[in-house]
Symmetry: C2
Subunit: 102 residues, 2 copies
């Protein structure tokens, strides 16, 4: 498995709009086992995105999908910055679900 | 929803053993929507735990469950430290599954 944890800071006041785009655009993608968008409790504009993929290859491949490309194009103007990015090797737990195959 | 992202550094060489305890001890708990244990790709002893609960109350309640108390007791000697803890308000995504009710 392959994972990422990253913080995305939205342009002031745009966090909810950005979260919606991220959630809508990156739903049940091939190889995606978990993709959660969460608001930081202490920072008004910060989101955390935690992802688990079957492999780094499936994550990479997702970036080429039209739905994801469209979400990136739509979301980019609402993003002030990225930070705290960590790559992980997920080991296990609860809530890892294979999405539909392409 | 209520979420936490936190980094747990294991005692040297004990990461896999600690991960197993965390995964076994905190499986399908009431109110737990996601609980993923992942190894940090760049740090040999570091784990990331990302959690989503129905509410902060369900997370708090889980800490009193015998299975979780047992996992905490078993895991504590394998933990060198906690860091990077962030509380979140999960908004949505893929991989949020209601566990069995108590």
């Amino acid at each position: 498995m392959y994972g990422q944890i990253s913080k995305i800071t939205a342009v002031a006041g745009q966090r909810a709009a950005l979260a919606k785009i991220l959630i809508d655009g990156t739903g049940r993608l091939p190889g995606c086992l978990s993709y959660v968008v969460a608001a930081d409790s202490g920072e008004a504009d910060a989101l955390w995105v935690t992802e688990v993929w079957e492999s780094q290859a499936s994550h990479q491949a997702s970036l080429q999908l039209p739905a994801v490309q469209a979400a990136i194009a739509k979301g980019r103007p609402l993003i002030a910055g990225f930070s705290n990015r960590t790559e992980t090797v997920p080991i296990g737990g609860h809530g890892l679900i294979a999405a539909a195959k392409a």
